[in-house]
């Protein structure tokens, strides 16, 4: 059964959610990965959104993290003060998803600017809740499209710190990176290739990385999406809004 690189990304991320309880969900691919995991391998997965929705059970594909379909039938809907204070800072979040415009070998993330802060070439959205998520979630999963422009030796701006030592947060920082090329874990704080998606070579990964990517000695090929995974996933996004 053929599949797209995006479908491979979603499935690879979803598989990592087995046994996870409280997940801080982003819109798009993270939402698809969490919804897929909840249906297939993690029925008790609690979908928590920074908009204040806890235990969402959306009847349609949400197109924003504040989609009204996330609210209807949720377990609890609360203020952002309560969500960031009592859930995130309190340490209740097991896994949180973050995206990135740039990521470095330590899993630090830039979503603020390309170029200088004062006179940016490209103004990006900024942190949103990412910096407190990066510091307070127990584990951070990074979903990003890999290229020399996104996997860089040096970030233009550190929005959300990765494994750069001591932090005020209670989280353990980035644990996983999933791209269209492979999956990566952090070995003593350094991003390390642990599995290559089907048809991707190490050389392609090296070419798409702005530093010398570490490779796990037991690097494997990612299991391709199984038919059951693909069926469930395509059912979640029938119009292929995110499964481009």
């Amino acid at each position: 059964m053929s599949f797209t690189a995006t479908e491979m990304m979603v499935v690879a991320a979803a598989r990592q959610l087995s046994g996870v309880r409280n997940c801080f969900v982003g819109i798009g691919i993270p939402n698809l990965a969490c919804s897929l995991a909840k249906r297939l391998i993690a029925p008790d997965l609690e979908l928590i959104y920074e908009s204040g929705v806890v235990g969402a059970d959306p009847a349609r594909l949400p197109l924003s993290i504040g989609d009204p379909s996330l609210v209807v039938g949720a377990r609890s809907v609360t203020s952002m003060f309560d969500l960031f204070s009592f859930y995130l800072q309190r340490g209740l979040i097991d896994v949180a998803f973050l995206g990135a415009a740039q990521v470095d070998r330590n899993g630090s993330i830039n979503t603020t600017v390309l170029g200088s802060y004062e006179k940016p070439a490209v103004r990006l959205p900024g942190s949103g809740g990412a910096v407190e998520i990066a510091l307070n979630a127990d584990q951070v999963f990074i979903i990003v499209n890999q290229s020399p422009r996104t996997f860089v030796e040096k970030l233009d701006f550190v929005t959300s710190p990765g494994h750069i030592g001591y932090r005020t947060g209670r989280g353990n920082g980035p644990a996983l990176v999933v791209t269209q090329m492979g999956t990566y874990r952090f070995v003593s704080g350094e991003m390390t290739l642990t599995s290559l998606h089907p048809g991707v070579t190490r050389e392609q990964v090296f070419e798409a990385t702005g530093w010398e990517m570490a490779v796990d000695e037991d690097v494997v090929e990612t299991d391709p999406p199984r038919p059951g995974e693909l069926d469930a996933l395509r059912h979640l996004d029938p119009d292929r809004v995110y499964l481009k």
Binding site: E46, V54, A59, G73, S76, S85, F86
Partner: protein, 306 residues
Amino acid sequence: MANSKVTSMREAVGSLVPDGSVISIEGFTHLICFAAGHELIRQRKQDLTLCRLTPDVIADQLAAAGVISGLVFSWLGNPGVGSLHAVRRRIEGSDPRPIHLEEYSHFGMVARYTAGASGLPFFPLRSYRGSDLPGANPKIVTINDPYGGEPVYAVPPLNPDVSIVHVQKASAGGDAQVWGIPGCQKESAFAAGRVIVVCEEVVSDETIRSDPNRTLIPGTIVDAVVEAPGGCHPSYAQGYYDRDNPFYLEWDAISRDPDLLDAWLDEWVYSLKDHAAYREKLGTERWSALSAGDALSDPVNYGDYS
């Protein structure tokens, strides 16, 4: 939906509240869980520290029964009546033994729970300046304004081992809804290591999820759910029953006399097997005198976005 956490009060208190625990039983005049207090007495728990803004009759009973050895509090009395005589005997006369006091103001206690619930090392507040309270409690400290204004005060986080929270409705999974005076039930629950939700009635997930903004405490942080209708007596549950004001007056005489108090504990706690027996013993006449009429909230529309 979520797996059921419904259990008996005996089981919940027995398994989740070991001797020596720091516990909170909040509820500001409203939703005070006497049913749990009585079970703690019945199981002859020892050396508990009770965190509660307003240790009132429930604290007097726990103190008299020798369950608690310490109070973390901000107001100590029988509201609208006067003193807690059993607590006062322990404070003023170490009779039968002393009780440790850690004293704050209402907002100091609320701020402590909020810091505890928020993973913050302290919480700042505009209080205490010029009061003797910081002198009496070294945990109340000043903190500088990093922007150069005058210092304010701070209190440390309070993280009870167990929080026992009475609510009106809860699902089997522990999603708890409260209306009327919420006090600091939410903050004390999120601050605690374990949470026991005691409810007037267990309701369906559908009822809870028809109004998610009403959920004060999510099952996410709840360890046990106990159904105990009438469990707040002599305090009240908004929309379920009224406050038993005569009981608070009667308690004054009972509490003044240690023998009367022991006799009351024997008759109303030790000799009853559970709160259902207490409820029955109170009798239909007393309950009907406390019955609340109907005043329903107007529903709101969440919309169907399927």
